[in-house]
C-alpha cells in the first residue's frame, strides 16, 4: 500500500492529502462512483468535473483526441448544472478522501451563486476555473485579467464559509503571475496551474479542424515545460500553495513540478497514456526516486529548484 507511506502525505491549502497526486478536473470526474474508484486506485485527492450555472450538453464530438505528444480537447464544459447534482453529493457523503469541487460561471456574480450552493455540500476545496471565456468581457478568459480574477475570488470567498478556495489559472496569457497575485490578494487559499494551452489541429485530408469546436485545449507531455515555468514563477511571486499540473506522466515529472514549486500535483492526460493505474505508478515512482535520493518527506521537494 504505497499511499500509506508517511512521507508522501502533503498539506495543501489546509487540507491533508494522502499523497501529492490529485485527479484533475475534467478527467473521470463525472460521477461519484468514478471519483471513489479513482481515490481507491491511489489518488491523494480527486476533483469533480467543473460544475456550471445550468445544464449544458457540451460540444459534439470529436471532443477529445490525442497524439503521442499531447491530448487535445474541447468538451465544452458539459455539466448537469449546480442544481442537478443532488445524487452526486449524496453519494459522496462520508467519503474517506479529499474532494475538490471545480466551478465555473459566465460572470463575476454568477461564480458566487454557483459556489454558494456547492459550498453547502462541503467539498474539501472549491476550485474556481478561471479559464472560461468571459462573455461579458473581451471574449478572453476571466483568467487573463487580474482585476476580474480578483473580484471573482473575492465573491466566492464571501460565500464559501469554511471551505478553502483555490483559483485555477490559464497559461494562455502573458499576465499569469499578475493574475495569480491578484487571486492571492483577494483571499484565495491556493492556486492551481495550469489549465490547458489553447490550440488547434487540422485534419488535412478532411480540410477541417479535428475538434467539432475547432479550437481546444492542449494537455499532456507537450505542455509540461509551460507548466513548470508557470509554477516556478508563481512560486517565486506568491505565498499561497500551488497545485501543479500539466504533462505529468510519471513520478519524475511529478517531482519536477514539485521542485518548480507545487505542493501537490494534478494528473489528467496521463490516464490516457497509462490507464487508471497511473496514480499507483506515479506514487511508486516518486517513492523510488525519494528512496534513492534519500529524501524523507515529499514536502522537502517543494520549490527545490529555486535557490
Amino acid at each position: 500500500m504505497v499511499e500509506k507511506l508517511a512521507e508522501l502525505k502533503v498539506d495543501y491549502a489546509g487540507v491533508k492529502f494522502r499523497n501529492p497526486t490529485v485527479l484533475v478536473s475534467g478527467v473521470l470526474g463525472t460521477d461519484a462512483a468514478t471519483l471513489k474508484m479513482v481515490a481507491k486506485r491511489g489518488a491523494g485527492a480527486v476533483t469533480m468535473k467543473s460544475i456550471g450555472p445550468e445544464e449544458r450538453a457540451g460540444h459534439n464530438n470529436p471532443t477529445i483526441v490525442a497524439t503521442e505528444h499531447f491530448m487535445h480537447n474541447a468538451v465544452g464544459l458539459p455539466t448537469p448544472g449546480y442544481k442537478n447534482l443532488g445524487d452526486k453529493w449524496e453519494a459522496l457523503k462520508g467519503r474517506d478522501f479529499p474532494l475538490i469541487a471545480s466551478v465555473f460561471a459566465r460572470s463575476v456574480e454568477e461564480h458566487a451563486v454557483v459556489a454558494e450552493e456547492v459550498a453547502s455540500h462541503k467539498p474539501d476545496l472549491i476550485e474556481i476555473n478561471l479559464s472560461c471565456p468571459n462573455v461579458k468581457g473581451l471574449g478572453h478568459a476571466f483568467g487573463t485579467d487580474p482585476e476580474v480574477a480578483g473580484k471573482i475570488v473575492e465573491g466566492v470567498k464571501k460565500v464559501s464559509g469554511k471551505v478553502p478556495v483555490i483559483a485555477k489559472l490559464t497559461p494562455n496569457t502573458h499576465r499569469l503571475v499578475e493574475v495569480g497575485k491578484a487571486c492571492e490578494e483577494a483571499g484565495a487559499d491556493g492556486l492551481v496551474a495550469i489549465n490547458t494551452l489553447g490550440g488547434m489541429m487540422i485534419n488535412i485530408d478532411a480540410r477541417r479542424p479535428v475538434l467539432h469546436n475547432k479550437f481546444g485545449g492542449v494537455s499532456g507531455p507537450a505542455i509540461k515545460p509551460v507548466a513548470v515555468k508557470s509554477i516556478y514563477q508563481l512560486y517565486a511571486n506568491c505565498k499561497i500553495p500551488i497545485l501543479g499540473m500539466g504533462g505529468i506522466i510519471n513520478g519524475e515529472d511529478a517531482i519536477e513540478l514539485m521542485m518548480a514549486g507545487a505542493s501537490a500535483v494534478g494528473i489528467g492526460t496521463a490516464v490516457h497514456y497509462r490507464g487508471i493505474e497511473v496514480f499507483e505508478l506515479v506514487i511508486k515512482e516518486m517513492n523510488d526516486w525519494m528512496d534513492k535520493n534519500n529524501v524523507k518527506k515529499v514536502s522537502e521537494l517543494v520549490g527545490a529548484a529555486h535557490e
Binding site: G26, V27, L28, G29, T30, D31, A33, T34, L35, K36, M37, K49, E55, R56, A57, G58, N60, N61, P62, T63, I64, V65, A66, T67, E68, M71, N73, V75, P78, T79, P80, G81, N84, D87, K88, M201, N203, D205, A206, R208, V210, H212, G268, T269, V271, H272, G275, I276
Partner: protein
C-alpha cells in the same frame, strides 16, 4: 498510437434493410470482435460503432436513427469518413468450443464479427437474431455462414414471432453451451444474463453508453465507475452483477444521471 481520426474511403455500401446499411471501408484495422471504432463526419459529430466485419474489408453496420446516422446515410461509395480506434476490450473466446450468440436489433454488428471469428476457430455456433420487425433485422446472410441461425421478430414479420430470450430458453432445454454472448437492448441483455446464470453458463454482453474519448479519460461512459469504452464494452455476468446502474440509469451528454429509458428515448 495516435487517437486522431484518419480519413478513409467508403469502398462499398451494402443495404441490409430499409434502415440498416453496412459501410465497408478502405483500410485495414486489426480489431477483435466486440471492439468498436469512433466514426467522424466532419462538421457533424463522431459516434461509436462496433466492427461488424474485420476482413477482407473493415465494415460497420449502422441503423439510421437520428442526426448522425442520417448524415452518414447520405454518403456514397467513394466518399470519406474519419475513423479512430479500435477501442474497447472485445469478447473473450478462450477455451470456448460451443457458443450461443444472441443479438437484438443493430446489436448484431459486433455479434457478426464474433460469429465469423468463432467459425474460423472451429467453434460450434448457434445464433439467435431478433428485432422489432423485418426492417430492423440485418446480417442474417453473413450469420448463416457461421452457424445455425434462428430469427425472431416482435411482430412476426420474419422468423418466429417473439423475443430472442424465448428462443434462448427453448434452445437451452435440449442444449448446453460453453458460453453465451449477447448484444442488443439492455433489457434483453439482462434477461439473457439471468437465463445464462440459471443454467450455469458463462456469458458476456456488450454495453452502450454515451461516449466522448473512447479511451477511458473523460468519464462520459461511466457505469458505476467502470468505463464502458475501455473496461468494456464487453462484460461478463460476474462484472454485470456489480453494476447497480445496469438496466436503470445512464448519463446524458451533460453528465446528468437519467433513467435508461429517458436515455434511450434521446431525452437527454
Amino acid at each position: 498510437m495516435s487517437d486522431i481520426p484518419k480519413m478513409v474511403e467508403i469502398k462499398r455500401i451494402q443495404k441490409e434493410t430499409k434502415n440498416i446499411r453496412t459501410f465497408f471501408l478502405d483500410t485495414a484495422i486489426n480489431s477483435a470482435p466486440g471492439q468498436f471504432l469512433m466514426a467522424w463526419l466532419p462538421g457533424i459529430d463522431e459516434k461509436p460503432f462496433g466492427v461488424s466485419f474485420k476482413a477482407p474489408e473493415l465494415g460497420i453496420t449502422v441503423e439510421q436513427k437520428g442526426k448522425f446516422t442520417e448524415e452518414l446515410f447520405f454518403l456514397k461509395e467513394g466518399d470519406k469518413i474519419g475513423i479512430r480506434g479500435p477501442y474497447g476490450n472485445g469478447f473473450d473466446t478462450e477455451g470456448v468450443k460451443t457458443a450461443c450468440l444472441v443479438a437484438g436489433g443493430v446489436g448484431v454488428a459486433p455479434i457478426n464479427a464474433l460469429a465469423i471469428e468463432l467459425k474460423q476457430k472451429g467453434v460450434e455456433v448457434k445464433i439467435i437474431l431478433g428485432a422489432r420487425s423485418q426492417d430492423h433485422l440485418s446480417l442474417s446472410e453473413s450469420l448463416l455462414q457461421c452457424g445455425e441461425l434462428y430469427i425472431t421478430t416482435d411482430d412476426g414479420s420474419m422468423g418466429e414471432k417473439g423475443f430472442t430470450t424465448n428462443k434462448l430458453r427453448a434452445l437451452l432445454k435440449d442444449e448446453k453451451f460453453d458460453k453465451i454472448y449477447t448484444c442488443g437492448p439492455e433489457v434483453m441483455m439482462i434477461e439473457v444474463m439471468k437465463i445464462a446464470d440459471s443454467n450455469g453458463i458463462e456469458m458476456e454482453a456488450s454495453l452502450e453508453r454515451y461516449m466522448r474519448c473512447g479511451t477511458g479519460v473523460c468519464g462520459a461512459c461511466s457505469i458505476n465507475g467502470i468505463m464502458v469504452c475501455k473496461d468494456g464494452p464487453v462484460f461478463n455476468s460476474g462484472q454485470l452483477k456489480k453494476l447497480t446502474e445496469l438496466g436503470k440509469w445512464a448519463r446524458s451528454k451533460s453528465g446528468k444521471k437519467v433513467t435508461l429509458d429517458d436515455y434511450c428515448r434521446g431525452k437527454c
